[in-house]
């Protein structure tokens, strides 16, 4: 596992939001797995940062949580994107793209 990078700080929230946008309501484990899969298993999601990140997004009103039943009949807490969350995602995506573009230009110069 040592070759896997931890999620860059500040980007986890964006990844969570994007995941929820793409897959709809999802529980914490699913979100973590999805992020790891999307990264081609290059990233490892630390639960110590995932739960506080989810809580923070919930406190900000970007997501809401609800207890439900998983596909294999397990009780789980599902997170769902809100309208404020969607707006937040758009804004953060724009910000990130801009940052990435600037950084890319720097690195290629």
């Amino acid at each position: 596992m040592s070759d896997k990078a931890d999620v860059l700080q500040g980007t986890l929230a964006l990844m969570v939001l994007k995941t929820l946008e793409g897959l709809g309501p999802l529980h914490g484990y699913g979100i973590a797995r999805r992020i790891e899969q999307t990264s081609g298993d290059l990233l490892s999601v630390n639960y110590g940062t995932l739960y506080p990140a989810l809580l923070k997004l919930e406190q900000e009103g970007s997501i809401v949580s609800e207890w439900g039943v998983s596909e294999n009949n397990r009780k789980a807490k599902f997170y769902k994107l809100t309208r404020a969350g969607r707006k937040q995602l758009e804004k953060e995506t724009r910000d990130w793209e801009q940052t990435a573009a600037i950084l890319a230009r720097f690195l290629s110069a």
Partner: protein, 880 residues
């Protein structure tokens, strides 16, 4: 917006902590299950699947902690936790908590209660507009710097000055009120028309005096004080326009002053009358009977104004040398005149209460130290388990705060009672002269003061134990099993604290001792008369008795009637009686000496022939007056020894002649020398005094003194009834015994209240100091049980164990008494003005107090010493 939402959500998190905690645990568990399921699906065995999932999850506790901190406001959460913990800790230890709260409450109560009085008298703004611009205006002579001004001088000063925006005078005086049932004595004040405008006070009902309404030609008008209105008229609004007869003149009531208005130099006053200059005194430039109050013009300093009035006084001196020689001027801020006289005693009491609070705080701080010492192990464990030093310190701060909050609450509650109690202890007639104490009670200033005290105590209480631990390494706590060097460490700090306590207690005890001795000396000061079995009463007859022959006839009738009362041995009259004041002065000169218009000023007393015999005053030489000596006989006078010493050093005054300042001079023969009588307050020095026969200087106001052979009190109503029978128009004062007069006199009262209050503080301080010492010694004994056990096992006798413990206590006491001694002499020097007949380094008091403190301290340490000596060596060694 999002930040706000987050904050609100975090705040809400404070109340839902238990539920959220459970939910997080469930969520983690659920996700773990999902992970396990996943792993199983991928082909792992059940056991391996779980192991892998748990490993991937990582440490659950740190996750929970980060989650918690995100969920709520960690600082608030911690504080609440600390607070709960502190309350629990304090509850677990009710003895400690009750003691600490009580001691702290006691200190805060004393300080806040005394501060209440200080605030009411000295800090609270006066009920006038812009009170800082007001000054008291006085004439000044050599031995009286704040003296009365005469009406003609006032008129000139008012006209000539350039510094005062306005300038008015007042005269607080007894008035005769005519009622349906005869005459009644009432308290009133004559004021010039602008008096209330100068102060910036407007009546709540009716109107103020018109300019010019104080002139003789204007109809007489009177304003009622609020309390007078309530008392005499039941607060009726219909009083406006009614007339009231004062001193035989009808006055129209034109208004009522506000409830909050007071003017201490002229209290109590029911009737404020417009001045109406009339009569001999108001017209005579040398008749000084008024006090002035002025408002400084904008931008004019009191120094500039003083230079201005001094110049005017000089002009008048040049212009009227006969009457104004030696008459200077002085000014002082009006607020000094309002409550200035009780300022020294209030400062003394505040200092005393402050010291008591200091001792109380130190005492509680040392209790806290013992406690923190006993918790050394707990702290070490918590620190080893990862509690940061900040987190540990915040625990102590919280405990200190909780303790201070409890102590302050107790102290403030007690203070509100103490203020009422102290107020109730002030005699009613004394209180009437201190109107600023009327609304004594809690106000924002007192609350701020209490808050500052509480904050200081809180800082001390939280810093002491925290600092204590910061200085010592927490690791030692576990290693040494809360014994050994740690105990010594506490003893070092604790013993320093107890020395402070003992020293401060010594200061208070010496203060109380000196004040008590002053009071003793004051009440036993030789006033030159026999004070027991002597009753006095003041009498005022209507204007008709101003005529000399009528006044003399009244005097004779009064003397005859009273002499025939049962038990009366003799009776006399005088214009003023002993233990009153050195005022009512006259100007004289010695005939037969070169004279350039200068005068000697001294109190004059007009007395009946039997007055001195009734008082039991002693004649040094010569003879007393005779009843037959009236205006038809040569003028005669008796002088006191102070007079003889001052004006006839090395000469025999008898046979010499004096004269009032008149042209041509009228000779007065000196016929006797009297041993000094204390005409003024008990704590003043005797002054030269002139006595002349009443029959040669009769008047319609005088005091009666009666020597009786039986109980004093029953005579008082009989006196009043006898006088009233002579004429219903005559008013009398309530009457009192001479010993009562001395005991209740202002100076005796001040000394007594100071002695009692400081004495009370001192007793409490002694108690706290000794208890503090007991605590130190007892703790040291408990720490040294093992050592003592070994010593005894090796053959030490109980006597030497006593010696061991008492030596320690003895050193602490000696240090406390030594430091206390130095501090007390310093403190006593500061309160010199309040001492009477005692030096500030009174050896007797210092020795007594030192010995008393030493004995009490040794008694306090005897108990733990006995415990030490009775240690069973075997048990002591086993328990360790």
């Amino acid at each position: 917006m999002r930040a706000l939402r987050t904050w609100i959500s975090k705040l809400a998190g404070l109340w839902t902590s238990a539920w959220r905690e459970r939910e997080l645990a469930e969520e983690i568990e659920a996700n773990l299950q999902l992970h396990v399921d996943d792993n199983v699906r991928r082909g792992m065995s059940a056991e391996e699947a779980r192991r892998n999932a748990v490993m991937r999850l990582g440490g659950v506790e740190p996750t929970k902690q980060i989650y918690r901190e995100t969920r709520t406001l960690p600082f608030v959460e911690n504080t609440i936790q600390d607070f709960r913990f502190a309350v629990r800790q304090l509850r677990k230890n009710p003895g400690f908590t009750a003691t600490a709260t009580f001691i702290l409450g006691l200190g805060i109560c004393a300080s806040v209660a005394i501060f209440g009085f200080v605030d009411a008298a000295l800090i609270k703004p006066l009920p006038y507009s812009n009170p800082d611009r007001l000054v008291g205006v006085f004439e000044r002579i050599e031995w009286c710097h704040l003296c009365n001004i005469s009406y003609p001088d006032y008129v000139d000063w008012k006209k000539l000055n350039k510094s005062f925006g306005s300038f008015d005078v007042y005269q607080h005086t007894g008035m005769m009120l005519t009622t349906a049932s005869g005459a009644e004595a009432a308290k009133g004040t004559r004021v010039t028309d602008g008096f209330f405008r100068t102060l910036g006070v407007t009546p709540v009902l009716g109107r103020d005096f018109f300019p010019g309404e104080d002139q003789p030609a204007a109809p007489r008008a009177v304003l009622l004080s609020y309390s007078g209105w309530q008392k005499r008229y039941g607060g009726e609004r219909g009083v406006l326009g009614q007339t009231v007869t004062l001193n035989g003149e009808a006055n129209v009531i034109i208004g009522v002053l506000p409830r909050e208005f007071h003017f201490a130099p002229a209290e109590p006053t029911d009737f404020w009358t417009a001045f109406h200059a009339s009569g001999e005194c108001d017209e005579r430039r040398s008749c000084h009977d008024l006090y002035g109050v002025a408002r400084l013009k904008d931008g004019v300093s009191i120094e500039t104004a003083l230079a201005d009035v001094k110049l005017i006084a000089q002009q008048l001196e040049a212009q009227y040398p006969q009457t104004n020689r030696g008459q200077g001027a002085s000014l002082e801020p009006l607020k000094h005149g309002i409550a200035g006289n009780i300022r020294p005693i209030l400062m003394l009491l505040m200092a005393g209460a402050g010291l008591l609070l200091l001792i109380a705080t130190v005492n509680v701080a040392s209790l806290l130290l013992v406690r923190s010492e006993n918790r050394r192990k707990e702290i070490s464990v918590r620190s080893a388990l990862g509690a940061s030093s900040g987190r540990l310190a915040s625990q102590f701060v919280t405990e200190g705060l909780v303790l201070v909050a409890a102590g302050s609450a107790a102290g403030l509650t007690a203070a509100s009672w103490a203020m009422k109690l102290l107020l109730a202890l002030i005699p009613a007639d004394m209180l009437e002269g201190m109107p600023y104490l009327r609304d004594l009670g809690f106000n924002p200033r007192i609350l701020v003061f209490s808050f500052v005290l509480a904050a200081l105590a809180a800082v001390l209480f939280s810093v002491t134990p925290a600092l204590h631990f910061a200085l010592s390494k927490t690791g030692e706590g576990i290693a040494e099993g809360s014994r050994g060097s740690s105990g010594k460490g506490w003893s070092r700090v604790g013993s320093k604290l107890v020395v402070v306590e003992l020293a401060m207690a010594m200061v208070l005890l010496v203060g109380a001792g000196l004040l008590g001795k002053s009071l003793y000396r004051l009440l036993r000061v030789d006033i030159g008369i026999l004070t027991d079995h002597l009753v006095t009463m003041e009498l005022g007859a209507p204007r008709a008795y101003e005529k000399p022959e009528k006044a003399i006839a009244l005097e004779r009738l009064v003397l005859n009637q009273i002499e025939s009362l049962p038990g009366v041995r003799s009776v006399g009259i005088a214009t003023d009686i002993p233990v009153s004041h050195w005022g009512n002065t006259t100007w004289i000169r010695v005939l037969g000496r070169p004279w350039n218009g200068e005068h000697l000023e001294m109190p004059e007393r007009d007395v009946s022939a039997g007055y001195f015999r009734t008082l039991g005053a002693k004649l040094a030489r010569g003879r007393f007056f005779e009843e037959s000596e009236d205006a038809s006989k040569p003028h005669v006078a008796i002088v006191n020894q102070a007079f003889a010493k001052q004006y006839f050093p090395g000469e025999d005054p008898i046979g010499k002649q004096l004269s009032y300042i008149s042209t041509p001079p009228v000779p007065i023969d000196i016929i006797g020398i009297l041993e000094d009588i204390k005409e003024g307050p008990l704590d003043t020095d005797n002054r030269s005094t002139l006595y002349v026969p009443f029959n040669q200087s009769p008047g319609n106001y005088f005091n009666i003194v009666v020597r009786i052979s039986q109980a004093e009190q029953p005579l008082i109503p009989a006196l009043a009834a006898t006088i009233r029978q002579i004429d219903f128009g005559i008013v009398t004062s309530p009457g009192e015994t001479m010993t009562g007069r001395m005991n209740d006199s202002y100076s005796a009262y001040l000394h007594r209240s100071a002695a009692w209050l400081v004495g009370g503080f001192a007793v409490l301080a002694l108690l706290l100091g000794v208890v503090g010492l007991y605590g130190v010694v007892a703790y040291s004994v408990s720490q040294r049980t093992r050592e003592i056990g070994i010593r005894m096992a090796l053959g030490a006798q109980p006597g030497s164990v006593y010696g061991l413990i008492l030596k320690e206590a003895g050193w602490l006491t000696a240090a406390g008494v030594g430091i206390g001694l130095v501090c007390s002499i310093g403190a006593a020097t500061l309160m010199k003005a309040l001492l009477f007949g005692v030096r500030s380094w009174d050896v007797e008091t210092l020795l007594c107090v030192g010995a008393m403190l030493g004995v009490c301290a040794l008694l306090g340490s005897y108990i733990p010493a006995r415990r030490a000596a009775s240690v069973n060596p075997v048990e002591a060694l086993h328990t360790e």
